[in-house]
C-alpha cells in the first residue's frame, strides 16, 4: 500500500513544507513540497535524515520518572497516566506553597505550532512563559518592535529580488533554511551583491561578492559609521525618510563622532570600504537588505546593533519594498478571517510575570527573558519559580555545569518534553516523549507574510513507540491537573475544527497542497498607504516603547577588550553547520556519519607563535572547564578569535554515536548567564575568552 501526503519538516525551526511517501506503513521518501516556490522538491541534509531519526532506537521511547539522583540517568518506565498524575501532583504541591506563578514553561519559541503549550500553562494559571529567543533572535525582535511596531516574525526579506544584501555573520548557507538559501542563490545568479562581514570565512563568505573580515564584537561600530556616511553624504532615500522616520535630528547628532576613520580603528575594516559600501547601497536602494539575521545574542550592544541595522534599512527606503523588507499582513488586512486562538478560551492569569516585578530599564514581550527566569530559579527573586517545563529545547546542553547545578538546586520539578534524549531530559524528574514530526499531527499554523498562509502538519504513520503528539501531551496534562475544561479536545480534528471555525476553510482543503493561502496575491502597501504599528504610525527612532520602559534610545560604542593572544587567550565564537541543528541532530546516524565532531579554527600566524600545527590536538580551557580538540589552522579567521561548530559533545550515554564526541562550546561560557545585554536583557554569548595551548 502506497500513499503520499503533505506535511511540515521538524528537523529544525525553519519548518519547510514537505511531501512524504509511505509504502507498507514505512516511510521511504521525504522531499520538499513540490508545490511551494523556492522549495520544489528540495530538502536539506537534516530534512532528509528525518527518516533515520524516525527509525532510530536511540531516542525517547516511553514516559520516564526519575528514581536515582538527578543526572544519574536512572529512570523507571511509566505509563502516560502515571506520568501525568505524577506531574499534576507535583504542580499542585508547588502551587499551593508558592502560588500559581511559580510554574514556568520554556520552549524554543512558539513558531508555527507552539500555541498549545501556552494554553496549558495558562490553564494552570501561570503567566510565566519563556522562549529561548534570548539566546537567538530576541534583540532583532525587540529592535523591530521599538522601531516599526512589528515583531521579527512579521518582517520578511525579499532576497530573490534584491540588488544588494549585507550579512553580519549571518551564515545563511550553513545555518540553513531551504527557501532562504535558494532565494539568496537566485539573487546572486541575477547579479545581486552580497557584502558579508564575519570573523571568519564561512561557506556563505565563499559566495560573497565582498568579504570584510571584522574584529570580533565591532559590528555596531561598523554600522554607526555606515549611518554616519549615509547621512553626511546625503545617500539616503529622502522621500522615505521625510515621510516615515521620526527622530532624525537626534540620530544625526548622536552619530557625529562615528566617522569611518574611527570605525577603521575599531573594526579593522579600512574606512574606504565603509564609504564605498555606503555609496553602493545608495546606488542599489531601495532594493537592499541589511540583514539583522537570527542569532543575535552576541555582545552587550547587540540590541542597539540590531536597531542600527534596521535604521539603515529605513534610511535606504527598503522597508515594505520589493527586493527589500516586506511586512506581514494580518488575515484581516487581506480580507480574511484568521485562525481562532486556543488561548482565548482560557482566562488570562491574575498574577504578574517575573519581569513585571523587576522595575524598568529593559524591554520585554510576552515571551519573557530566559535569563530572568534562570535568575529567579537560582535566587527566588522577585519570587520563586519551583517547577519548570522544558519543551523541545535543551538549555542544559549549552550552559556550564555550575549553572546546571544551580538551576537544579532551585527546582522542585523539572519536566522535559522532547523527541530527542536531550541533556535536559537526562537531568529531568519526568520525561515525556513526544512523537517525531512524522508520527504526529499538530495544530494548524499560520505562516506570516504578505500572503498569510495556513499550513498543516499531519502524521504520516502511527507512533513507533509509546510516544504522543504535543497536543495530546498538553491536553492530558491539563486534564490531570483538573483543568480539562480549558482544553476539551479529544482528537486533533477537534482542534483543527475549532481553529478553522468561521474561516470557511475545511480540513480537506489542506490535502491538495498541504497549505491554504488566505488571499490570492501578496499584499504590499504603497508609500501612500503605509503605516507602522507604532504609536505615531512612523518609524520611531525615539521609540515610545523605550521611553515607557526607561531604555535610552542610543548607546555609545565601547571598544571591546582585546584578548591577550600572545598568551593563548582568544574570544570564543561558535556557529552552525549545515548538517546539524543546534544540539539535536548529532546522534542521527546519517548526519553523525558526515560530521561526527568539531574542530577549533585558529589563525595560522597566531598558531605558529603558539607552536600549534594543523591537525594537532590542543587543550582549550575556561576558568572551570577544559577539553581537548583538534586544531584547524587557517588564515581565514581573525587572529583574536577561535571558532567551533556548535552542539557537539553530547553527555547522554544512551546516545552512543555522539556521546563525548567533539567539544561543547556551552561549557566554556563561565559567567555568560549573569550578563544581560543593554536595553534588551538578552544573552551575551560572544564575549567570553578562552585559553588555548598545545596539549
Amino acid at each position: 500500500m502506497n500513499r503520499s501526503l503533505y506535511s511540515v519538516c521538524g528537523m529544525c525551526s525553519v519548518r519547510c513544507p514537505i511531501r512524504v511517501e509511505v509504502t507498507d506503513e514505512r516511510i521511504n521518501w521525504i522531499e520538499g513540497n513540490p508545490n511551494v516556490p523556492g522549495i520544489e522538491h528540495s530538502l536539506c541534509a537534516r530534512g532528509s535524515s528525518g527518516i533515520s531519526l524516525l527509525y532510530d532506537f536511540e531516542r525517547l521511547q516511553y514516559p520516564m520518572i526519575r528514581i536515582g539522583p538527578r543526572g544519574s540517568g536512572q529512570f523507571k518506565r511509566a505509563s502516560w497516566e502515571e506520568a501525568f498524575k505524577y506531574v499534576a501532583e507535583a504542580i499542585g504541591n508547588i502551587q499551593s506553597q508558592y502560588g500559581k506563578k511559580s510554574i514556568a514553561l520554556v520552549d524554543r519559541g512558539a513558531g508555527l505550532f507552539g500555541e498549545i503549550q501556552r494554553v496549558f500553562l495558562r490553564s494552570i494559571g501561570s503567566p510565566n512563559y519563556f522562549s529561548h529567543d534570548d539566546f537567538c533572535r530576541k534583540n532583532v525582535d525587540l529592535a523591530y518592535q521599538t522601531l516599526l511596531g512589528y515583531g521579527r516574525p512579521e518582517v520578511g526579506y525579499d532576497f530573490s529580488n534584491t540588488k544588494h544584501m549585507v550579512f553580519y555573520g549571518r551564515n545563511a548557507l550553513e545555518s540553513l533554511g531551504v527557501r532562504e538559501a535558494n532565494n539568496i542563490i537566485k539573487a546572486l545568479s541575477n547579479g545581486a551583491r552580497l557584502t558579508y562581514l564575519d570573523v571568519r570565512v564561512s561557506k556563505t563568505a565563499t559566495k560573497a561578492t565582498k568579504f570584510l573580515q571584522i574584529r570580533p564584537g565591532t559590528d555596531y561600530a561598523f554600522n554607526l559609521a555606515l549611518i554616519h556616511v549615509i547621512l553626511r553624504e546625503n545617500l539616503f532615500d529622502r522621500e522615505f525618510v521625510e515621510r516615515f522616520i521620526t527622530g532624525l535630528p537626534e540620530l544625526e547628532n548622536f552619530i557625529k563622532p562615528y566617522t569611518p576613520d574611527w570605525a577603521e580603528k575599531e573594526t579593522g575594516i579600512p574606512s574606504y570600504e565603509i564609504v564605498e559600501l555606503a555609496k553602493q547601497l545608495s546606488a542599489d536602494k531601495p532594493k537592499v537588505i541589511l540583514y539583522p539575521g537570527w542569532f543575535a545574542a552576541r555582545t552587550m550592544n547587540y540590541f542597539y546593533n540590531a536597531r542600527s541595522i534596521i535604521i539603515l534599512n529605513a534610511l535606504l527606503g527598503s522597508i515594505e519594498q520589493k527586493g527589500g523588507l516586506i511586512l506581514a499582513k494580518t488575515p484581516k488586512e487581506v480580507g480574511a478571517k484568521g485562525l481562532n486562538s486556543l488561548l482565548e478560551r482560557v482566562p488570562a492569569p491574575q498574577e504578574k510575570r517575573i519581569e513585571a516585578e523587576e522595575g524598568k530599564g529593559f524591554l520585554y514581550d510576552g515571551a519573557g527573558h530566559i535569563l530572568h527566569l534562570f535568575r529567579a530559579i537560582k535566587t527566588g527573586q522577585p519570587y520563586p519559580i519551583k517547577g519548570l517545563f522544558v519543551m523541545r529545547y535543551d538549555p542544559f546542553a549549552g550552559i556550564t555545569h555550575k549553572d546546571i547545578q544551580e538551576l537544579l538546586n532551585g527546582l522542585d520539578l523539572l519536566v522535559a518534553i522532547d523527541t530527542n534524549y536531550s541533556s535536559t531530559a537526562w537531568y529531568a524528574d519526568v520525561v515525556l516523549p513526544e512523537s517525531t514530526y512524522l508520527e504526529r499531527d499538530d495544530m494548524i499554523g499560520m505562516q506570516r507574510g504578505a500572503k498569510p498562509t495556513l499550513i498543516m502538519r499531519r502524521k504520516a504513520i502511527n507512533p513507533l513507540y509509546d510516544t504522543k503528539g504535543k497536543w495530546e501531551i498538553f491536553t492530558g496534562l491539563a486534564k490531570a491537573c483538573g483543568f480539562g475544561d480549558y482544553m476539551p479536545y479529544e482528537s486533533i480534528e477537534d482542534i483543527w475544527n475549532y481553529q478553522l471555525e468561521g474561516t470557511g476553510i475545511k480540513i480537506e482543503e489542506f490535502e491538495k497542497t498541504g497549505q491554504v493561502a488566505l488571499c490570492k496575491d501578496p499584499l504590499m502597501y504603497s508609500r501612500d498607504d503605509l503605516r507602522f504599528k507604532t504609536k505615531s504610525q512612523k518609524i520611531e527612532i525615539l521609540s515610545e516603547k523605550m521611553v515607557e520602559r526607561e531604555v535610552p534610545y542610543f548607546l555609545e560604542f565601547q571598544s571591546p577588550p582585546k584578548p591577550d593572544i600572545e598568551k593563548g587567550e582568544f574570544k570564543l565564537v561558535f556557529g552552525r553547520i549545515a548538517v546539524h541543528t543546534h544540539v539535536q541532530t548529532h546522534n542521527n546516524k546519517y548526519l553523525n556519519e558526515i560530521i561526527p565532531e568539531n574542530d577549533l579554527w585558529i589563525n595560522d600566524q597566531v598558531a605558529k607563535q603558539l607552536g600549534i600545527k594543523d591537525g594537532d590536538i590542543i587543550e582549550i580551557s575556561s576558568d572551570d572547564y577544559s577539553a581537548k580538540i583538534r586544531a584547524k589552522v587557517t588564515p581565514f579567521i581573525h587572529p583574536e578569535t577561535v571558532f567551533m561548530y556548535r552542539g557537539f559533545e553530547n553527555e547522554v550515554p544512551f546516545k552512543t554515536r555522539s556521546v563525548g564526541k567533539g567539544v561543547n562550546e556551552g561549557r566554556f561560557l563561565k559567567g555568560a548567564f549573569e550578563k544581560m545585554a543593554y536595553g534588551s536583557h538578552t544573552g551575551v554569548l560572544f564575549e567570553n575568552f578562552i585559553k588555548v595551548r598545545k596539549a
Binding site: N28, W29, I30, E31, G32, E40, H41, S42, L43, C44, A45, G47, S48, S49, I51, S52, L173, E174, L176, V178, A181, N182, I185, L188, S189, V201, K203, A205, T206, K207, A208, T209, K210, F211, A578, V579, K589, Y590, L591, N592, E593, I594, I595, T634, F636
Partner: protein, 168 residues
C-alpha cells in the same frame, strides 16, 4: 559513458551534504558506504575573494568501466539501454575486486549485506520517469540530470563565463 550525466553548478552548490543524505535514505544504506561524496577543496583567495568548491563525486558510469572488467562473477554490469553501471546483488560474492579496479573508489562495501553497493543513477527512479534522488532534492538545485552532450555544452559555456568574466 552512460547517456546521462549529473552536472554540478558550482555557483549554486553550498556544500551542505544534503545530496549524500538524499542518496543514503533513498538506498536505505547503513553507516559506512557513501554512494556519492561531497569533497571540499581548501579555501583560496581568488581575485581577492575567498572561494571554496564542494565537488560532487558520484559514479561516472564509464563507457568502458574498470569495475565491470574486474568483476569475476558478472555481478557488475553495464545496462545496454542507457549505459548505467550497476551491481546485480544476486551475483555479487563480495570479493571487492571492483573497489581496487575503480580509479575513483566509487564501489562501496556494505557491511550489512557483505556485498558491494554503488551509485546506479537511481535507475528505478529513472525507469519511472523521475530523476535521481540527489538531483531531485539538492538543496539549491545545483545538480542537474542531463544528457552527456548537454553536459559538455554547459561546461564549455560556464568555462567562458567564469574565465572571461573579468575581461569585460
Amino acid at each position: 559513458m552512460s547517456i546521462y550525466y549529473i552536472y554540478q553548478d558550482h555557483n549554486r552548490c553550498i556544500g551542505c551534504y544534503a545530496c549524500e543524505i538524499h542518496c543514503k535514505t533513498k538506498n536505505e544504506l547503513p553507516v559506512g558506504p557513501r554512494l556519492c561524496r561531497i569533497i571540499e577543496t581548501e579555501i583560496k583567495l581568488i581575485g581577492g575573494l575567498p572561494r571554496q568548491r564542494f565537488v560532487f563525486m558520484p559514479c561516472f558510469h564509464c563507457e568502458d568501466p574498470w569495475c565491470v572488467k574486474a568483476c569475476p562473477t558478472g555481478a557488475m554490469q553495464k545496462r545496454s539501454k542507457d549505459g548505467i553501471v550497476f551491481v546485480e546483488h544476486s551475483l555479487c560474492v563480495g570479493c571487492k575486486s571492483c573497489i581496487t579496479a575503480c580509479p575513483w573508489g566509487v564501489p562501496q562495501w556494505n557491511p550489512e549485506i557483505g556485498k558491494i553497493v554503488k551509485c546506479d543513477y537511481c535507475k528505478d527512479r529513472i525507469d519511472r520517469g523521475l530523476e535521481p534522488a540527489c538531483v531531485t532534492k539538492c538543496t539549491t538545485k545545483a545538480l542537474r540530470f542531463i544528457s552527456a552532450s548537454e553536459a559538455s555544452r554547459l561546461k564549455r559555456e560556464s568555462f567562458v563565463k567564469e574565465t572571461y568574466a573579468s575581461l569585460y
